[in-house]
């Protein structure tokens, strides 16, 4: 069974169709990259998947259920949607303790994830004094708190320096090696190409293609993901290419 399943997902704001009849699945145990230009609908799609935004039509399911119906959401899917989701006057550790307390997760797990994201020593400091990269790491720690089988990461590399990107790549690979399902969006296509097994490309809220990374590059005669993306999205508004079932 697909871990994440979108079926006819649509979101309109007035006359603007931010997401337009989006249908695809994120298979279990794989790293799936979600690629699209600014305003293509990636974040809106992810927010609908997490129940933060209400779809105009269609469904977005995690493990066969809407997010709101998951019995233990944080233990099922860990999400990073925005690094600025912590009270600036609360310490990093306390910010995570709040989430842990609400989810019946023991406090020792807070220290584990702080250590995992490299914030063990900074955990006692106010979040307001954190750099963008540190807030991003803290948001990632929050996503990992429930030790979920599935991770949804919206631009996890934002604000990270080269060392941080290297660390993030290693973390995602280690999570994938444990058999977790990872669905991540990024503008850093070269970075993404090194990490993902599968790629979903959208433009103007519509699906352009979903393919295994290897197949995408092979079918494009070794072109980079960036070159493939630019070529496909130029076609996207008038000629969406549905290749999800391609061998």
């Amino acid at each position: 069974m697909a871990v994440i399943e979108l079926n006819g997902l649509t979101k309109t704001y007035g006359r603007v169709r931010a997401v337009d009849d989006l249908t695809f699945t994120v298979p279990p145990g794989r790293v799936t990259g979600f690629v699209g230009a600014n305003g293509a609908g990636k974040t809106t799609t992810m927010r609908m998947l997490l129940g933060l935004t209400r779809p105009t039509a269609g469904t977005a399911l995690v493990d066969g259920r809407q997010y709101v119906d998951l019995p233990h959401p944080v233990r099922t899917i860990g999400a990073l949607v925005d690094p600025d989701v912590f009270h600036p006057n609360r310490s990093g550790r306390n910010a995570l303790r709040v989430i842990a307390r609400a989810s019946d997760i023991p406090d020792r797990r807070v220290d584990e994830v702080l250590d995992l994201v490299g914030l063990a020593e900074a955990g006692g400091r106010r979040v307001g004094g954190f750099s963008m990269g540190m807030r991003q790491r803290l948001a990632l720690a929050a996503a990992l708190l429930g030790d979920p089988e599935t991770l949804l990461l919206d631009e996890p590399g934002n604000g990270l320096d080269p060392q941080g990107m290297h660390w993030l790549r290693g973390l995602i690979r280690s999570m994938a090696a444990e058999g977790r399902t990872i669905f991540l969006s990024s503008h850093l296509l070269a970075e993404l190409a090194q990490t993902v097994d599968e790629v979903v490309i959208i433009a103007d809220g519509r699906l352009v293609t979903q393919q295994p990374m290897a197949g995408l590059v092979d079918s494009s005669r070794g072109a980079s993901l960036e070159e493939v993306y630019l070529r496909l999205t130029d076609l996207a508004p008038s000629q969406p290419e549905q290749t999800q079932d391609m061998p």
């Binding site: 998951l70 959401p73 925005d82 009270h87 609360r90 307390r101 609400a102």
Partner: protein, 249 residues
Amino acid sequence: MKSLVSAELLKLRTTASLWVAAGVVVAMSLAVPVVLVLSPSGVDIPEITPAALAELMRAPASVAGGAVLLVGLLAAAGEFRHHTVLTTRLVEPRSGRVLGAKLVAIALVGLALGLLAELVSGVAGAVVLSADGVDLEPLSHGVPRVAVTVPLLVALHGLVGVAVGALVRSTAGAVGATLVWVFVVEGVLPVVTRSPWMVHWLPGGTVHQILAAETPAGQLTPVAAGALLLGYVAALVTATAVLDSRREL
């Protein structure tokens, strides 16, 4: 639900507003008895009787209520200001349960600060009155009623703060709306409409009537005023819950 309430209490404990409010409540609870002690002789102060203890214990109700209202308001509207509402909703996607947990948490905080105010003002008042040679009669003159009523009223103020904060979703907007209500709707409106009776039926007026030692003609009894205030709070909380469930983040 217990976990959510526990998390909301932890949120309150790990921000400054609760501790500032607690400090203000303690300071104001001490202030009135201390002023009484420090008042120079010759100042026009009514004769002090055993009934003064109840008056001293009524005194911090407004400040404690206002402080907890502000704490509740910041706790609810602050979630939107700092975007923490996103993590809150990822943990518990059902808005009604989140609002319920916030209301329970602020009610518990309100009860605790209300009891603290009564304890401080009661003990300080007793010391001051004893030193002045006044007989203490802690079970008379409405003292037990005040000691129970003030914490309940402070808790209700907290519920109002959370409801307004969740409704307005902006700390500045929620504070502004509260001030407009207190000073314009409750303060000016009865005057400009030449309807002084209106004061007794508005929420602020019900609080005064609940705490009043006596019920003058034309005013509500403490029980009737309490029922009316509960109705106002229930209506506000219900409206917030309904709107909150329909709105997106």
